[in-house]
Symmetry: C2
Subunit: 403 residues, 2 copies
């Protein structure tokens, strides 16, 4: 039995936070400025893109997370504030300062995120106006407004929330995420924000978040591109009144399980909303010589344009799957490879499985969600990647999304 239960809502399911989502007019007539404020100093944790080119707000957040706590996060969409040099760093700092002034808190207690077009300086007059407007619109009911304000090419807002009991006290964890393209394991053009009213030790909070991200946001792939801005932030304000949670607490594992489940749910919402996607596919690799080999094989398959377009066509083209496994860099013995779609075997010992039914395979491929299971029969290495198909609509979106 699950030790936690999902509830309605998003980030504001956690008590003691007020949030807002407003129009700063960075984008034409769509919400593009979100703000999150904790009523008291919150323990803060974060994970960030591994891209060697990192946006200014990423650098700012990395630095500010060295502090004991944080009070607020300000987030704009429409402009990534990446590849903007010293001006970009100054602008990210200014975003925090303007928010701090409006909120009456210290600038160092404000975290900043941006997402959108790369290489264009922030329109700071609009940004500053937006931040002030957001500060004036804060509400404990503003979760969905905020979730909409962080969207770029997303078609739906992505929220989830759950509750659980820690030492007899009910605590809540709420989250929101954005991301639809430039999505690749090890983060993507994605932002996610997790808030909890539980009291959690800062170092433990970081461990919990890092482990959860490894199993969720770092295992999704839409197009293999990895962004300059990926950020997941986690604030814990302790308003629920529980005993301090850390790795020694008897309920620690339950809390970590809940966070992992929530991040997985948000990550899957990103895949489901993959630009132009019509199908969600779980690529499971097992039997690899080691887990790193399993990772290579799963990602080569999940990122193969030929595999992704065959899914779109409803074609159980396992040849392209075996081909991608072959060039993945993983150790492979061709005549040991088995492949199935859901529970229908396609390949046995590296060849078309005897009696494999194209009709049965096509039935699986016609599903909105299915799994592709690859067994290399070489060892114990396993890995999983969640991904989607590649469609003409993906190309249309990304050829029309202008600089």
């Amino acid at each position: 039995m699950s030790e936690f239960s999902y509830i309605k809502g998003g980030i504001t399911a956690a008590s003691g936070f007020t949030v807002a989502g407003v129009c700063a007019h960075i984008k034409a007539a769509r919400p593009d400025m979100a703000m999150i404020v904790s009523e008291r100093p919150a323990a803060a944790a974060g994970t960030f893109t591994t891209n060697r080119v990192q946006a200014a707000p990423v650098k700012l957040c990395r630095d500010r997370l060295l502090r004991k706590s944080a009070r607020a996060i300000v987030i704009n969409s429409g402009n990534a504030n990446a590849c903007t040099g010293e001006q970009g760093m100054a602008d990210a700092g200014r975003m925090a300062a303007v928010a701090a002034e409006a909120l009456g808190i210290a600038a160092e207690d404000v975290l900043v995120c941006s997402t959108g077009t790369i290489g264009v300086p922030l329109p700071m007059d609009k940004v500053e106006g937006g931040i002030k407007a957001a500060a004036g619109a804060l509400s404990s009911e503003g979760g969905s407004d905020a979730a909409r304000a962080i969207m770029t090419t997303d078609t739906v807002e992505k929220e989830a929330a759950l509750k659980l009991t820690i030492g007899g006290v009910e605590v809540h964890i709420g989250g929101m995420a954005k991301g639809a393209g430039m999505i690749e394991p090890n983060m993507a053009t994605m932002l996610a924000f997790i808030l909890t009213d539980a009291l959690v030790d800062k170092a433990a909070l970081q461990d919990c978040l890092s482990a959860a991200v490894a199993e969720s946001f770092n295992r999704i792939s839409v197009d293999g591109d990895q962004s300059t801005n990926d950020t997941v932030l986690f604030l814990a304000n302790g308003v629920a009144g529980n005993e301090l949670l850390n790795g020694d607490h008897p309920d620690w594992q339950i809390f970590c399980d809940a966070v992992r489940a929530l991040t997985k749910k948000l990550a899957m919402k990103i895949v489901e909303d993959g630009e132009g996607a019509t199908k969600v596919v779980t690529v499971n690799v097992r039997g690899a010589a080691c887990c790193e080999d399993a990772r290579k094989a799963a990602r080569a398959v999940a990122n193969s344009l030929l595999v992704k377009t065959s899914w779109y066509g409803g074609d159980p083209n396992w040849g392209r799957v075996v081909d991608a496994v072959g060039y993945s860099g993983a150790e492979v013995k061709e005549d040991l490879i088995d492949v199935s779609y859901d529970d229908v075997c396609a390949v046995k010992d590296g060849m078309a499985a005897p009696g494999a039914s194209l009709r049965e395979l096509e039935k699986v491929l016609a599903r909105r969600e299915f799994s592709l299971n690859i067994d290399l029969h070489l060892g114990d290495g396993t890995d999983t990647v969640y991904t989607c198909d590649c469609t003409e609509e993906y190309v249309r979106i990304n050829s029309e999304y202008m600089t």
Copy 2:
């Protein structure tokens, strides 16, 4: 001044070879069986896919190239004879044996190539009939027929030929290639055949081919997928009557230059015919810390779906370029990166170049061919990849090309 000159025609520009391209009916009503026969034993060289899953004919050719010479090549399209196990190896051997019998030569002197769908056993009755028909249709004028018979999703046949003088004797080199999708550096679903009437030492011929392939077929990318069947074969039959060419011959470098030029020309024809492609782009990276870093950066950019779709949209979206460089694994200092499209600067010191004109950049992106030049300003490493844009048509082709 060039030491060689292009001439009309393809593989049959080389004397002493007869070739054919016929319908074996593996595919519906399109030529799908080609044959190349040298009137005398020819020195033979080859390069092959690095995919760990290799088609049966690749294994056969690797083995037979250990011999002193070869006499013929038989090639089918429509079926890759890959992931076909022991039956596949037997079928590849049978293709050679049937050709040998029809030609009155030894089976071991026949090389075999296949391209097409993976994982389906060859329809050997049709294949055998096709081989016999090809043997009956051999002609010194059959180059274009053969070039058409090896096509799969190609829209045009790919041929080139040139002549040069070696020790006062005119010699000819002709080539043909196929390939449009599943194209990635280090070979692709591509086949190429180079024939020359020059007399060339076998070991020298292999060195010459390997060096030429490294600069041509291994530097093109359509979609980042690498096939199980890639093969380039080079036959030299000595019919021209020149002195034996080897590394010590004074004209050796001229010969190698000519082969490199011919393979480059054929490789560019593959990129130009990239599935659904509307633009050909040369990605140049320089200033990398080392050549391996330059290679990583160039390939990350050339294979980025977001970059390729932005080209399709005519959008000089340099943010996606810098982003791809950042995740390529190459050493990168963000504030040292320069990017230009042809001679129009887009990025200087990691930011939008001062005075960069979007209109001037868009003019470059509107061209059918342009270069993307990236300078990392870290060292002397350079690399170049030839690639194309990614279009809705690519997705359509590959979602409809059925198992």
